[in-house]
Amino acid sequence: MRYLPHTSEDIQYMLETVGVESLDALFSTVPPDCRREAPMDLPAPMDEWGLLAHMEALSVEGGGSPPGGSFVGAGSYEHFIPSVVRALAGRSEFYTAYTPYQPEMTQGTLQAIYEYQTLVTRILGLDAANASLYDGASALAEALLMAIRVTRRPRVALSRGVHPHHRQVVRTYLGPTGYEIVELPFGEDGTTDLSALKGGDDLAAVAVQSPNFLGCVEDLQAAAGRLHEEGSLLVASFTEPLAFGLFTPPGLQGADIACGEGQSFGIPQSYGGPLLGIFATRDKYMRNMPGRLVGKTVDVEGRRGFVLTLATREQHIRREKATSNICTNNSLCALAASIYLASLGGKGFRGLARLNYDKAEYLKSRLGGAGFEKAFKTPTFNEFVLKAPPGFDKSHARLADRGFSAGLPLGRWYPELENHYLLCVTETKKREHLDRLVEEMTS
């Protein structure tokens, strides 16, 4: 076995040093009532080449982008990933290291995460970002728990424009706590309708996603104004942060916490994970943040360096009083995102955002003139909802057979949007792909 270096002579010599007769005798402290009776029922071992062939076969049925193209986003986006991302994040000095508890041996990870935190604050327009959470969904749950801690209020409101899965995760996290969750409807324009919101001094926060699940860009500024008057926080979530290359970021619209999914930044879709939970807030709430933080400092000789900091918020010090139970986060995904963002640069970030917008607008207007109806007038980024002509559901299924993922039917999550489809266009689609899709969808 190539991963196990010991020869039988090594084992014999080591057993003698330990003073036991056999490998099994090492387990003398395991009582019979804990021991397994039969061997583990697992398939026979495979060699490297057999494994590769087996996995290649599985991957063919794995669901990689269909031949006609996928026009589904909904929280997982197909973007081009430059080779440098894999080449650099794939350096094993990065990926075979542990959490940087010993700063002298992990300055690489630490500086990279410090840079990641800085990039995130610049993109979101906020003061302080953490070193990452698991995904946008748990980041939102953590944000609402944080808002409850900060305001000491027991009620939160969630817009129905928040990704349905994110809302489910919030319910799971808050379920046993007894905190109340109310849902806010969206209006005819596809954005959150705050008019029904009952404010008051028990409301900790309102969570609004922008661009929201329906693709619509929300007016966070107005929401923030109203909430701050009542002492509540605005939590702005997102699933497509590339939008902030074109649209005003949440921090500049008054959001107190911005959190969401960073998979768009150079992380493969990988059937939904690993992802990147991005989390940022204002300086005044820094010590209430969940998760790890990297801070700048100096060494004994006064040289600039980086360490994990404010650990007294964390579970390994504070135990049950910690700001979160998180330990392992998604550091390597944060590194990949930083490499991706460094490659893009400010100019590239703006340019790529604009390209996504332009291509999505192109498809939106072409389908809009061909029997499909724009569901909402509100501006969108790279996703939008169309109402399909009657009977399109059959064509949608036929298109799937022909290798096109022609949008996501929304009726399952929004019964009022039966026969509506959420379509996504990114830079990976050329004009000819879009034209072909229009032809397929309208024929």
């Binding site: 076969a57 669901g63 075979t96 840079e115 935190q117 800085t118 902030f244 879709q269 990988s270 135990r319």
Partner: protein
């Protein structure tokens, strides 16, 4: 003594990203603008963030240099206790990049992703076979989220039986994530100290286990590297009083093929695929923390679950007693497939041997070093052993000094100051993938450091001397936090 592995070499400095480059540079291959520019909406747009503009080579050199400041398993031995820093196979990294996996959309219709679903369904079955439990959810994104899932299930189980229990027993050897996860479920941790032999006593658990206690969280082997020998009887007491047993499987690497968690009395157990099943730690994640449960708890597992329907696998949310969804999609698939590949490479015999050799290596280190360092619990250990700095305190040398000095010898330090039950603890987990030559070099380095502690203690107090930076000021970092430039 053989030549030290640690040495100095040419290490290049590297500024921060925004201290490099110039405005207008591009490191990205921008696709062609093949559609017309669309009009921008008024009042909502922004000029975009201020990010550094770099060339592709600027980016490559930046991260290559940073990587050279890091130490990983591929660099050298990383005996970090309770973290299982074993070798991360290269083939598994390649497999995660296969286009059908890396490019799979998580909301694709099931007929388009049978391969991914089959891989997950099989991995669930393997993990059930390895633990001796009945059903598995792969959804939790890391160990702590697996713990949270377990606690949510215990909470839901009691609620389903119409009872609201408010406490949970947590031994003082537990990882900090245990009480933190329990607290998220409104359960107040009731601490129990381990006895003189470093393990839980049945009587101590019996004393605190009452009708208001939801159960117990047990890490077995525990963080002293000792097998909780009374676990079966402890589980019986907890069950008799209506509670459940949560097993923290962080230390599973010690007992594959030996222990049956179901038989031991565990109701729900999480695994860390990034420890036992060889997936890389990534400098702090992503991990994956599946939960394995008994038949009785299966209805409470998170949704979606993978079920068979009409001859194919589908994701089902139709499980009314489920605790709900924990992850945006179905968990860290890219991590799961590496664990799957590892299990398919090792087979049952290989995994069993891995555990046996992990335990052999830890016992070998313990026997070789117990004459040099204080060993608070001198008993047969599992996959890790815990020393302390008691003897070196005579020279005013602490665990931290020794940990820093070990860097000069070319090793990552062990876990230090954890578990909390041992003062100045030094927790060594060699793992099964280290050869005897490497382990001997580590032992010799530790012995040499103990000699230095007696003869030249300043060498330790000023260590490390060969790293690029030395002893960073963590107090200043926390007093005036600077989290961004």
């Amino acid at each position: 003594m053989k030549e030290n592995q640690g040495t100095t070499g040419l290490v290049l400095n590297e500024p921060l990203l925004w201290e490099k480059g110039g405005r207008g540079r591009e490191g990205f291959s921008m696709p062609e603008q093949d559609v017309d520019r669309a009009a921008l909406p008024e009042g909502l747009t922004h000029e975009g963030p201020d990010l550094p503009d770099l060339s592709e080579l600027d980016v490559v050199r930046h991260y290559t240099r940073l990587s050279q400041w890091n130490f990983g398993v591929d660099t050298g031995m990383y005996p970090l206790g309770s973290c299982t820093m074993k070798y991360n196979p290269k083939i598994n990294e390649d497999l995660a990049q296969l286009r059908g996996f890396a490019g799979a959309h998580p909301m694709s219709p099931p007929e388009q992703c049978q391969g991914a679903l089959r891989l997950m369904a099989e991995l669930e079955r393997y993990l059930a076979a390895i633990t001796g439990l009945d059903a598995v959810s792969l959804q939790p994104a890391a160990g702590a989220q697996g713990e949270l899932t377990g606690m949510l299930m215990i909470h839901a189980y009691h609620q389903d039986r119409g009872s609201q229990r408010t406490k949970i027993i947590v031994p003082d050897t537990a990882h900090g994530t245990n009480p933190a996860s329990a607290a998220l479920c409104g359960l107040r941790p009731v601490p129990v100290a381990v006895g003189g032999e470093g393990i839980l006593s049945t009587a101590d658990v019996a004393r605190v286990m009452d009708g208001d206690t939801a159960g117990i969280m047990v890490t077995n082997p525990n963080t002293l590297g000792l097998f909780e020998e009374n676990i079966h009887e402890i589980a019986r007491i907890v069950h008799d009083r209506g509670g459940l047993v949560y097993g923290d499987g962080a230390n599973m690497n010690a007992v594959m093929g030996v222990v049956d968690a179901g038989k031991m009395g565990v109701d729900v157990l999480h695994l860390n695929l990034h420890k036992t099943f060889s997936t890389p730690h990534g400098g702090g994640g992503p991990g994956s923390g599946p939960v394995c449960v008994t038949r009785e708890l299966e209805p409470f597992l998170p949704v979606p679950r993978i079920v068979e329907s009409g001859g194919r696998l589908v994701l089902s949310e139709d499980h009314p007693k489920s605790v709900g969804r924990l992850h945006c999609f179905t968990g860290n698939f890219g991590v799961m497939l590496k664990a799957y590949a590892y299990i398919r490479t090792m087979g049952a015999e290989g995994l069993g041997l891995a555990s046996r050799l992990a335990v052999l290596n830890a016992n070998y280190v313990k026997e070789r070093l117990k004459g040099t360092f204080d060993l608070p619990y001198d008993r047969p250990c599992m996959h890790e052993c815990v020393f302390s700095d008691k003897r070196q305190k005579d020279y005013k040398i602490t665990t931290l000094d020794m940990a820093k000095r070990l860097m000069d010898y070319g090793f990552h330090p062990p876990t230090v100051y954890f578990p909390l039950v041992v003062n100045g603890s030094i927790m060594v987990e060699p793992t099964e993938t280290e050869s005897i030559e490497e382990i001997d070099r580590f032992i010799e380095a530790m012995e040499s450091i103990a000699e230095e502690a007696a003869e030249n203690p300043d060498l330790l107090r000023t260590a490390p001397s060969r790293t690029r930076l030395r002893r960073l000021d963590e107090t200043a970092a926390a007093r005036r936090p600077c989290l961004r430039d």
